[in-house]
C-alpha cells in the first residue's frame, strides 16, 4: 500500500520524456520516412534504381572519398588531440591549460564558410602565408583531399581535446605510482592501465570526429567545390539539379547510404566500446 503512490508516479514518469520524443520524431523520424519513401521511388513507382545508382560511378567515389577523409581525420585528430590533451593535463602551468581549453571550445565550433574563408585567406592560393613563404612556387594547394583534411583537423583536434581532457583528469596519480611500485615502466603503465581505462572515451571521440567530418558540407563546398569528391557535395548537387535534373531521389538514396555508413561505424564501435568498458559494469 505504501508503494502505491510511488508506482503511480513511476507509471506517469514517462510523460516527462514526451517533449523529447516528439522532437526526435520530428527531426529524425519524419526525415527518415521521407528519405526512405523517396529512395525507393522512381517515376512514381517503387524501385531500387536510386539505391543502385547511388553506389555506382561518381556517387560511389564520393561516398568512399567521404569515408576515407572522415576516417583519416578521426584517427589523426584523435591521436593528436589526445597528445595535446595529455600535454595540457600534465602541464604545471594552469594558465596554459585554461588557454588551451578555452581555445578548444571556440575552435571546435569553428566551421562552415567562415572556417573555409579563414584557411583560404591564410593558406589558399593567394593566402598570406602561401605568398609570404613562397608556398605557391612549390606547388602548394589547399584545394585537395589533404588540404581539406587539414582544415577538418583544425576543428577536430580541439573537439578531441575537449572530449579526452576529463578522462585524462580521471586517471588517478595513485594508479601510475602503484604501477611504478610494481616495477612498471611508463610505457607499461599506459599499455596495461592508462590506455585501457581511456579506451571507451577514445573510441567515443573517434566516432564523434568521424561523424563530424562525414556530415560536413559548407566548408568543403566553399573550399573545394567539386574538386574533391564527397558525398555531401554530391547530395547538394543532386538536390539542386545543377548537374543533372530529376536526381532528387538519388540524393535521398545517398542520404540513406550515409545512414548505413553511420550504422556500420556504430556496429563496429558499440561492441568495441562494450568490450573496453566491461570493467565499468
Amino acid at each position: 500500500m505504501a508503494n502505491a503512490p510511488l508506482s503511480k508516479n513511476r507509471s506517469k514518469s514517462w510523460l516527462a520524456a514526451v517533449p523529447l520524443l516528439a522532437f526526435v520524431a520530428l527531426v529524425f523520424g519524419v526525415p527518415l520516412v521521407v528519405i526512405l519513401g523517396g529512395t525507393f521511388t522512381r517515376g512514381g513507382a517503387v524501385s531500387t534504381a536510386n539505391v543502385t545508382e547511388s553506389v555506382q560511378g561518381a556517387y560511389l567515389t564520393a561516398l568512399l572519398g567521404s569515408v576515407k577523409l572522415s576516417a583519416l581525420v578521426a584517427v589523426v585528430g584523435a591521436v593528436l588531440g589526445t597528445f595535446l590533451a595529455q600535454a595540457v593535463v600534465t602541464s604545471r602551468f594552469r594558465a596554459l591549460r585554461e588557454a588551451v581549453l578555452t581555445a578548444s571550445g571556440v575552435l571546435s565550433n569553428f566551421g562552415g564558410v567562415p572556417l573555409a574563408f579563414a584557411w583560404i585567406a591564410t593558406l589558399g592560393n593567394s593566402g598570406v602565408i602561401t605568398t609570404s613563404l613562397g608556398f605557391d612556387a612549390r606547388g602548394w594547394s589547399l584545394y585537395n583531399f589533404w588540404g581539406l583534411a587539414l582544415v577538418y583537423l583544425y576543428f577536430s583536434i580541439p573537439l578531441m581535446v575537449l572530449v579526452v581532457v576529463p578522462a585524462l583528469d580521471g586517471l588517478r596519480p595513485q594508479w601510475r605510482e602503484a604501477a611504478q611500485n610494481n616495477g612498471a615502466s611508463a610505457w607499461q603503465f599506459w599499455r596495461y592501465v592508462g590506455i585501457p581505462v581511456l579506451t571507451p572515451t577514445l573510441l567515443g571521440g573517434v566516432v564523434l570526429l568521424f561523424g563530424g567530418s562525414f556530415a560536413a558540407y559548407a566548408t568543403a563546398q566553399a573550399m573545394v567545390g567539386s574538386a574533391v569528391p564527397l558525398v555531401t557535395l554530391q547530395i547538394a548537387n543532386a538536390l539542386s539539379g545543377n548537374v543533372l535534373i530529376g536526381h532528387e531521389n538519388v540524393a535521398l538514396a545517398l542520404s540513406l547510404d550515409m545512414i548505413v555508413v553511420a550504422g556500420l561505424v556504430m556496429a563496429v564501435y558499440l561492441p568495441l566500446q562494450r568490450r573496453s568498458a566491461r570493467w565499468l559494469r
Binding site: 595513485q174 602503484a178 604501477a179 611504478q180 611500485n181 616495477g183 596495461y192 592501465v193 581505462v197 570493467w279
Partner: protein, 352 residues
C-alpha cells in the same frame, strides 16, 4: 621474505617555501613495523614517498641494507606500497591487480594466477579473484592492495595511511590483519598514520615527526609513559595542562611536589603535563574538587573534574568506580608520584 634495514640519513625536502623534511635521521630495523606518526604537514608521507621513489630528497640518503637507493627509480626499488585509497587498477580484475607486478616481469600466466590466488588466500579473500575493484568494499580493496604490494616479495612494505578511508570497525580489523601478516612474513614495514591509536596498537616502534624533524622514536609504551618532549606528550594520548611552579628540578602542582623530567623553561610559572590516569580521585565530602562530567567507557570512565583553583582536569578511573564518582561528587585530588614534563605556561589550557 626477509626484512631489510632501512635508514634515512639527513633527509631534506622542500616544496617551494615549505620545508617537508628537515634533516630526518631514522632507522627501521629488519623485520620491525615502524609507524611514522605526526600531524598534517609533519613530513611523514614525504619520507615514505622518498623511500618509495616518488619524491626525491634535496639532501640526504636512503639506505636499504646498506645500499644507497636515493637515486634508484621507483620501478626498480624493492618495496611494496599500499596507498591511502583508490589505487587498484579499475580495468583489471582482482587477480590481475594482484599479479600486475608479475605480468610486468613477463611471468607465465599460470604462475601469475597461482601467486595471485596464494596472496588472496593470505589476505582472507580467496574467492573474489574475478571481481573488479568497483565491486569491492573499501576494506576488501585495501586487502587486495596489500596482496598486490606483497606479490613481488619486497624487502620493505610501505603503508601510506591505508586505513584512513575505512570505517572504524573495518579499520580495527584490518590493522590487526596487517600486523598478523607482517609478523608472519617478517617484512620490514613502515606505516604512515596520523592516528595515534593506530600507531600505538600495531607498531613495534613509533617515530613522532614534527615540522620535518624526528621528535622521538620509541616503543609505544615508552612513547606514552616517557615522552621526550612536550610536543610528543601532547600529541600522543590525552594530556592535562595544570598550572605549576618550578623550583630547581622540582615543580609544585596541586600542592604536591614532583620531579621535573626533560627541559625546564626559564619561567617559574609553567604548565605541568599530567596524563588523566595519573590524576587520582577519592570521594571525600571535605574534598576541594568536584566531578563535573562522567563518560563511561567500559573498563574505564573519563571524568572532568573542577580543581580547587577553579580550573579543570581530566581523570581516568576504573569503570566500576564511576558510580561512586558521579557528577556533583566532592573529591580529593592527588597526582601519581612520578617525574613530569613541563612547558611554558599559557592561559586557558587545561585538559585536552
Amino acid at each position: 621474505m626477509n626484512g631489510a634495514r632501512v635508514e634515512f640519513r639527513g633527509l631534506r625536502r622542500r616544496f617551494g617555501n615549505t620545508v617537508a623534511l628537515d634533516g630526518l635521521d631514522l632507522t627501521a630495523e629488519p623485520g620491525e613495523l615502524l609507524a611514522l606518526l605526526g600531524p598534517s604537514g609533519c613530513g611523514k608521507t614525504t619520507a615514505l614517498r622518498c623511500l618509495a621513489g616518488f619524491e626525491h630528497p634535496d639532501e640526504g640518503e636512503i639506505l636499504v641494507d646498506g645500499s644507497d637507493i636515493t637515486r634508484v627509480p621507483a620501478n626498480r626499488r624493492d618495496a611494496g606500497m599500499v596507498f591511502q585509497s583508490y589505487s587498484l587498477f579499475p580495468n583489471l580484475n582482482v587477480k590481475d591487480n594482484v599479479a600486475f607486478g608479475l605480468r610486468v616481469r613477463k611471468a607465465p600466466t599460470a604462475r601469475r594466477h597461482a601467486r595471485a590466488q596464494e596472496l588472496l588466500e593470505l589476505v582472507g579473500l580467496p574467492s573474489i579473484g574475478e571481481r573488479y575493484p568497483h565491486q569491492l568494499s573499501g576494506g576488501q580493496q585495501q586487502r587486495v592492495a596489500l596482496a598486490r604490494a606483497l606479490a613481488l616479495e619486497p624487502r620493505v612494505l610501505l603503508l601510506d595511511e591505508p586505513l584512513s578511508a575505512l570505517d572504524a570497525k573495518v579499520r580495527v580489523n584490518l590493522r590487526e590483519e596487517i600486523r598478523r601478516l607482517q609478523l608472519s612474513l617478517g617484512i620490514t614495514t613502515i606505516f604512515v598514520t596520523h592516528d595515534q591509536e593506530e600507531a600505538l596498537s600495531v607498531a613495534d616502534r613509533v617515530a613522532v615527526l614534527r615540522a620535518g624533524r624526528l621528535e622521538q622514536v620509541a616503543d609505544p609504551a615508552t612513547l606514552y609513559d616517557r615522552p621526550a618532549t612536550p610536543f610528543v606528550a601532547e600529541f600522543v594520548g590525552t594530556m592535562n595542562h595544570l598550572p605549576g611552579r618550578v623550583s630547581g628540578d622540582k615543580v609544585t602542582v596541586l600542592g604536591q611536589e614532583l620531579p621535573v623530567e626533560g627541559p625546564v623553561p626559564d619561567s617559574a610559572d609553567v604548565n605541568v603535563l599530567i596524563r588523566p590516569e595519573a590524576v587520582l580521585l577519592t570521594p571525600d565530602e571535605d574534598g576541594d574538587g568536584k566531578v563535573l562530567v562522567s563518560s563511561f567507557r567500559g573498563s574505564t570512565a573519563r571524568l572532568r573534574v573542577q580543581l580547587p583553583d577553579g580550573s579543570e582536569a581530566l581523570a581516568d578511573v576504573p569503570g566500576h568506580h564511576s558510580v561512586r564518582l558521579a557528577p556533583g561528587t566532592a573529591v580529593r585530588v592527588a597526582l601519581v608520584e612520578r617525574p613530569v614534563l613541563v612547558s611554558v605556561a599559557s592561559s586557558g589550557e587545561h585538559g585536552r
